[in-house]
Amino acid sequence: MSAATADGTMARPRTQGGFFATLWQGRTKYLLGAIMIVLALFMLLPIYATMTASVKLPSEAAGIPPTYFPKTFSVESYIKLWDYQHGLPRYLFNSFATAFLAILFTVALTVPAGYALARFPVPGKEILFVFLLTALIIPYQALLTPIFLMFAQLKLTNSLVGLAVIHTAIQLPFSLYIMRNSFEAIPKELEEAAVIDGCNTFQLLVRICIPSVVPSIVTIALFAFITSWNEFLGALVMLNRGEMFTLPLVLAASRTVNMLGGTDWGMLQAGVTVSIIPCVGVYLLLQKYYVSGLLSGAVK
């Protein structure tokens, strides 16, 4: 990870232009450059469209045909969103609280488990590891029906804790895998020195091992946040009281009806913008962790 570029992919000494080295000369250079710029524009246009629509006057945002460049500027759509049903603060709280709990559960479960798998001679370790990865072979979408039944009995439906548990179950195999590998990568000498100083294993974990795996903890926390913040089906199944809705749920519910019977496009795009910003923000800030997690989690 040390040699990673800003987005976490490996930097290696190579000719400028990399793969297309031979093409990277003369006129083809401009052609390839132009293709990349068009591609980047195409990817950014929808985000541009939603962000500008969210700051148009609602009448312009609902206008037919839509205007390419905003003629008005207004935060009215955001004000409407702020007061929509139980209010944006409530939905933001629900989404953030669920994500926070999912991060907490994921880290609290997989850090000690990864440590144990990497270091301790636990009997039947390989079988236990496979058991812990059960979720990999069964899609959580298929498990929602029985989980709903269980949560109905445990009174965990309409509960953010319940939803966070589902998000944790989704993230657990990936996170455990990442944590086990990074504990294994710590040089044993570090711990040996500490043992001589009289540390027990819990002190080893807290003082020596955890500080060495902080990047991995950031990675699993980041993935848990993005999964939880964006997750839709589990929330749709588990939450049916409006005041418990997470942001994606309330936005999906708002798409079909407003008081006039149509969609309030300005407010909807304000909502989309609000739900995009935290993800894009943490991604741009922690890009390195995100991409390295993806590369090690998905491919190896």
Binding site: D7, T15, P123, L144
Partner: protein, 292 residues
């Protein structure tokens, strides 16, 4: 230090929270799913044992087949676009020039956005009058009149959703392909260059074979993701017209939750899980062989 007689049990102690969690929230529901699938249960009345009824019912249920074929069609259409498109972009941006790194970041950006948010965004872009797609196509003179993209015609809806999902996830494959392409030792490419191989020859002889494992893995992840598609269809078409765009997961959702046919929903979930597992196993085998 980890070899004292106690450390076996100490290790188990550190594992216990995760083991309990998986037992309670993954393995137990899995067994419940199997059990419930042999019952009729609506939550209000107690479960009633019906044997294989739910399964035979599924196979003779017209909507089950409509959902399954629609999901397969969606998967078959979107997977080649994501793989070939993602790979082409990866070849284009695998270097480390400023423009390439910028394009990489931008193409990857929608991956971190929620599928719910991106579906709502495209639901608006595809809106008949207030949306940009029809406006742009009309302003460019490509279409004379507006197209009703979503919820009227199943095929047109499918394509509209495919466009939105390609935008949202193409960066996922791209970033993994870039990782694999960059892992190819520079010397291999240089040797081929010395031998006078053209760009396309190098793609075929070096890049594709050396990144085959990643290609298969990304295909696996992508196919399974498509077979489990839900959010985009729920938000953009709500299954319309006439549940023709209701995917398999959508069909399970409808039965389990609004209709509360939990036994039937569990049976459908089990069928889907086995179906997806087959794909996982077949592709794992393929992946292993290519790796050896």
């Amino acid at each position: 230090m980890y070899s004292s007689p106690n450390s076996k049990w100490l290790g188990l102690l550190y594992l216990t929270p995760a083991l309990l969690f998986v037992a309670v929230f993954t393995v137990y529901p899995l067994t419940q799913m199997v059990w419930v699938s042999f019952n009729n249960w609506t939550l209000i009345s107690p479960p009633k044992w019906v044997g294989l009824n739910n399964f035979t019912k599924a196979f003779s249920d017209r909507q089950f087949w409509i959902s399954l074929t629609f999901t397969l069609k969606y998967t078959l259409l979107i997977t080649p676009i994501l793989m070939i498109g993602g790979y082409a972009i990866a070849l284009l941006v695998s270097g480390n020039s400023l423009l390439q790194r910028f394009t990489r970041t931008v193409v990857f950006l929608p991956v971190v956005i929620g599928l719910g948010a991106s579906s709502l965004l495209w639901y608006w872009l595809f809106a008949p009058d207030a949306g940009f797609i029809n406006t742009i196509l009309r302003d460019l003179g490509i279409i004379p009149d507006r197209i009703l993209w979503l919820g009227v015609n199943a095929d047109i809806s499918n394509w509209a959703i495919i466009i939105s999902v390609v935008w949202k996830v193409i960066g996922f494959g791209m970033i993994l392909f870039v990782g694999a392409i960059q892992a190819i030792p520079t010397e291999v490419n240089e040797a081929a260059l010395v031998d006078g191989a053209s760009g396309w020859q190098r793609v075929r002889a070096i890049t594709l074979p050396l990144t085959l494992r990643t290609i298969l893995l990304v295909t696996l992840i992508s196919v399974i993701g498509s077979l489990l598609a839900f959010d985009q269809f729920y938000i953009m078409t709500a299954g319309q017209p006439q549940n023709l765009t209701a995917t398999s997961v959508f069909f399970i959702y409808l039965n389990s939750f609004p209709y509360l046919k939990l036994g039937y929903g569990a049976a459908l979930s089990l069928i889907l899980a086995v179906f997806v597992l087959l794909f996982t196993l077949v592709q794992m085998l393929l992946t292993r062989r290519s790796h050896a």
